[in-house]
């Protein structure tokens, strides 16, 4: 008997240790989308749990249109309103509902802003209207509670291709992830401490769509059809907000996918339920906020950071009008600087003048990689040389006519190499976490063809064009943010991208 009891104790210990190991394994295998991704869904949700309880007054929910449109830091900077953006890529209304429910366990928002993109058919082959992978991105990082269990049950009830078991044991779903594990999979706890942009994802391109026309809502009386399941969960969101005394604001962001029929049906819904509805595609609103689709939208559906500022500023007035008070809060105060950095990063990729560019990248948070192709000496102007020297480069004079040169400038070191044949620098930045290999072969080389290569974490980033190829890596956001080439042989000082 004593022997059997001892065995039982050992069994319990074994099961507990194994469960811990499996939990860790599952954490590693579950995909992560931190702020170094274009759509940082994981950062959004893990960051949300980092926010102090009952400190958020406005919650944003919705699809990627919402992620790229609602900028909490801007709302705080301009209006002093504390907001968090819980939108994510392809967030259907079912996911929005359960994330709202989850958020209410931690926060008491006064206003919920809901992006309505997914009310209409998005992917007819998906039972939940959006990709299963995006539903996973949103639900996998919800903390375990009755809300999560309820969400999983609802998902599996509506999507028979999904199994509840795969949520409890994510390895069932992500069993092939081991082939693509990266740094973030092992340093997730470090990555999860960041919630600087409070769920917002910055985009920086100019879409250049000149044929976008804002909506004239009087032009049609047609009504679009909402996806029944999405409508069901919109009703649930409305009901939940009403029960909790939250003002629900329906929003559609500037997008080429919108039309008057969509506007009409949401407008009807808002009227029946006594909700506010703002369609930023509506011509009066569009004009009022001085929106320019060409330069304020990243693409047909998503806003860039400058468009997001305009939409957020407009919403700020509306939210203020609802009665949300300004509050000073260190959580948003501390992220002001980070937000400024992100704005600067976004602006960097639009700089075309090399002088302005070299001044802009003179920041400690950047690691800069340089590699010469063909020639970078013959017409290298002294003023450009001075700016390069300001970055920390000291061996620029060693660059020979049509010679090779490469350099790396990082937080705590500068490494350079010049020669007539192939030169190569290899090493790492960020304490050995990011490996790089830079090679340069000038056209004077007798042994090989001229070429430039800047490989960072296994990915080639060099433009490989004549002159000085520069790659800028942000140590703050852990990603390459720009790659340009200064053609020192050209007469103008414009950058090549």
């Amino acid at each position: 008997m004593k022997k059997n009891i001892l065995f039982f104790v050992k069994l319990i210990a074994y099961v507990l240790i194994l469960a811990c190991c499996l939990h860790f394994t599952n954490r590693v295998l579950t995909p992560k989308y931190y702020y170094d991704n274009e759509w940082p869904t994981t950062t959004t949700y893990t960051g949300f749990y980092e926010i102090e309880k009952n400190s958020v007054d406005v919650l944003f929910l919705g699809s990627s249109h919402g992620v790229a449109a609602f900028l909490p830091q801007e709302l705080y900077n301009v209006y002093g309103i504390r907001a968090y953006n819980l939108s994510c890529e392809q967030q259907n209304l079912l996911v929005s509902y359960y994330w709202l429910k989850e958020a209410l366990r931690y926060q008491k928002p006064k206003v919920v802003v809901l992006d309505c993109r997914m009310l209409f058919e998005y992917n007819k082959y998906e039972p939940l209207n959006t990709a299963e992978s995006c539903t996973r991105k949103a639900i996998d990082y919800m903390k375990w509670s009755s809300v999560k269990r309820e969400a999983i049950n609802s998902i599996c009830e509506n999507d028979k291709n999904q199994t509840a078991l795969s949520y409890y044991f994510p390895n069932i779903r992500f069993h092939t992830r081991w082939t693509s594990l990266n740094e973030n999979d092992f340093f997730y706890s470090e990555m999860e401490q960041s919630a600087e942009l409070k769920g917002y994802a910055p985009l920086y391109n100019y879409c250049g769509y000149e044929d976008y026309v804002p909506l004239d809502i009087t032009s049609s009386a047609d009504r679009a059809t909402m996806v029944p399941l999405m409508r069901e969960y919109l009703d649930k969101i409305t009901e939940l907000c009403s029960e909790e005394g939250i003002e629900l604001l329906l929003v559609k962001t500037p997008s080429t996918f919108e039309n008057v029929a969509n506007y009409n049906i949401i407008s009807d819904y808002a009227d029946i339920n006594g909700l506010a509805f703002i369609d930023f595609n509506q011509n009066e609103i569009y004009e009022k906020m001085e929106y320019d689709f060409c330069v304020d939208n990243n693409d047909g559906g998503h806003l860039n950071i400058w468009g997001a500022k305009k939409v957020t500023d407009y919403l700020g007035d509306v939210i203020k009008g609802i009665g949300v008070q300004s509050r000073e809060d260190k959580q948003w105060e501390l992220s002001r600087e980070y937000y400024e950095h992100i704005l600067q990063d976004c602006e960097l990729v639009h700089i075309t003048d090399c002088f302005e560019y070299l001044r802009a990248i003179e920041e400690d948070r950047y690691s800069i990689f340089i590699s010469v192709m063909d020639d970078a000496e013959s017409n290298l102007r002294d003023d450009i040389k001075d700016l390069l020297a300001n970055l920390g480069l000291q061996r620029l004079n060693e660059i020979t006519n049509r010679g090779s040169y490469c350099a790396v400038i990082s937080e705590d070191f500068v490494d350079e190499m010049a020669g007539t044949e192939l030169v190569r620098l290899a090493g790492s930045v960020r304490n050995g976490r990011v490996l790089y290999t830079i090679t340069s072969t000038g056209s004077a080389s007798e042994k090989g063809a001229t070429a430039s290569s800047i490989i960072i974490s296994g990915v080639e980033n060099s433009k490989n064009r004549r002159g000085m190829n520069i790659v800028v890596y942000s140590n703050e956001t852990h990603k390459v943010i720009d790659s340009v080439c200064i053609d020192t042989c050209a007469e103008d000082t414009q950058l090549n991208r």
Partner: protein, 482 residues
């Protein structure tokens, strides 16, 4: 409910608790309850076929054993034949009916309802009936105990095919908790998962790609498919048996060995002593020996061998390819037997030691190649396809080993690395066992920390590197389909 689903292990946990809570003499009822639940959960459609078979064969066995028939030998024989027919005919109809109807008689096929595990329990019941007839065993008078013998859930899907004399008393007598056996069972289950998810289902991806698109592939691709299918089938079957044995160990029950490193065999005869041992010995005891075995001269021996392997082929499935596969193995053995003496004489003349390592290695490779050719026929869609694949194997394309072509067959290089490392581990373990090392027993004797490290490490490695989950539908064990 497959043996590698989580629900199966919830059932096991519940049954283990129930088994050891019940009084010793009633513990078998937990197994019966679990077996009935497993069968009903796993297979709702045809459960009544097995249920009916159990009742009828139970009664017929009692009649065979009854006193009135003791002196009426003919009637006893007829009763036995009826009993065998009752269990074998439904199996034959389900397995071969449509082949006979469509291919031989050119008639419409019938949508037969097959009971799960039919091929296995058919042989199991026949052996019971014959052994009762021969008075090798005592007839089981308790219908529930008899039902447990037939239904016993760890073996119903894929064997090993037990003998009542070996298994019956273990099922009914009730076992006290034995930590060593319990832990060994746990290791066997982990090993089963390793074989299934790290080897069989990975090798199966490449094998399926080539076999299912055989017109696209020639030369080394076919050879690779043949090798990988041989590995897949072995690992898959052994995985199921390992899990069956492991689960049985949890209840203190030992199942018979079904494999003894078959790819280490040095002849086809040796192969069949090592592969699917429970089937081979069943065929030996209930087909080959009753036919006369090798006691009636060489010609009769070869005829008996042919018949036995044809039965084996038909047991595995319907169609010419299975008949051919069985016949091929019979031919291998007959030719091996005929050429044995001249070969040995030649070795003697050349002063080559027949048990030297080089000769043994060559014979192992030679045997593996012969078995692999037969497996190609076995796996191909039809006999013609299999023969064509073997013909296409003789094309020259060695560059596929160097130009990354192998990475386009469904596995990227990292998965190939895992597969090859896993196969290497299997060979290492098999070689150790071949030399007489009892791996599970030696593991149990290691210090607790080492044991835990090994078993937990294995589980985590399988979770990370195994082939399973969404997007894969390879969970069914191959032999479960026979």
């Amino acid at each position: 409910m497959s043996y590698i689903t989580i629900n199966f292990y919830f059932l096991i946990i519940a049954l283990v608790i129930l088994y050891y809570i019940l009084p010793l003499k009633n513990r078998w009822t937990a197994l019966l309850l679990g077996s009935a639940y497993f069968y009903f959960k796993a297979y709702k459609t045809g459960w009544w076929i097995l249920f009916g078979t159990i009742i009828v064969t139970y009664l017929l066995a009692i009649i065979i054993d009854s006193k009135p028939l003791e002196k009426r030998k003919k009637l006893k024989q007829i009763t036995l034949l009826i009993a065998i027919a009752v269990v074998a005919l439904p199996w034959f109809a389900v397995k071969n009916g449509n082949f006979i109807l469509s291919t031989l008689l050119h008639k419409n096929t019938i949508a037969w309802i097959a009971a799960m595990g039919m091929s296995f329990y058919t042989l199991q019941i026949i052996s019971y009936l014959v052994d009762v007839y021969k008075r090798k065993i005592e007839v089981q008078k308790n219908p529930f105990k008899y039902a447990l013998y037939v239904l016993y859930f760890p073996i119903i899907v894929q064997g090993p095919i037990p003998r009542y004399g070996d298994l019956g008393h273990q099922l009914f007598e009730g076992h006290r908790f034995n930590e060593t056996k319990f832990v060994q069972g746990f290791y066997r289950i982990i090993w089963g998962f390793f074989l299934k998810l790290m080897i069989a289902d990975k090798a199966g991806i490449v094998a399926a790609e080539i076999f299912d698109n055989y017109t696209k592939y020639v030369g080394l691709y076919i050879l690779l498919a043949g090798i990988l299918y041989s590995v897949e089938l072995y690992a898959d079957f052994m995985a199921c048996v390992s899990i069956s044995k492991g689960v049985s160990n949890l209840f203190g029950i030992d199942l018979t060995e079904n494999f003894n490193h078959p790819y280490f065999a040095i002849s086809i005869q040796d192969f069949w002593r090592r592969w699917h041992i429970s089937l081979s010995s069943w065929l030996r005891d209930y087909i080959y020996i009753p036919l006369g075995g090798s006691r009636k001269g060489k010609i009769r021996k070869y005829i008996n061998l042919g018949i036995t392997f044809l039965v084996s082929g038909v047991w595995h499935g319907a169609g010419y390819k299975f008949i051919f596969w069985g016949a091929l193995h019979a031919i291998y053995q007959i030719v091996g037997d005929i050429t044995a003496n001249p070969r040995n004489a030649l070795y003697k003349k050349m002063k080559i030691k027949t048990d030297g390592p080089v000769i043994l290695f060559i014979r192992r490779i030679e045997t593996f190649i012969m078995v692999m050719f037969a497996w190609i026929i076995f796996r191909a869609d039809h006999l013609k396809t299999g023969l064509k694949m073997i013909k296409n194997m003789f094309a020259f394309n060695p560059w596929i080993l160097f130009n990354d072509s192998l990475f386009t067959l469904g596995l990227i290089w990292k998965e190939w690395a895992v597969l090859l490392a896993s196969i290497a581990l299997l060979i290492f373990v098999s070689a150790k066992q071949e030399k007489g090392t009892a791996i599970t027993a030696s593991l149990v004797s290691k210090p607790l920390a080492v044991r835990w490290l090994i078993s937990m490490g294995a589980i985590i490695l399988i979770v990370i590197f195994g082939t399973y989950g969404s997007g894969f539908d390879a969970q069914a064990f191959i032999y479960g389909g026979f």
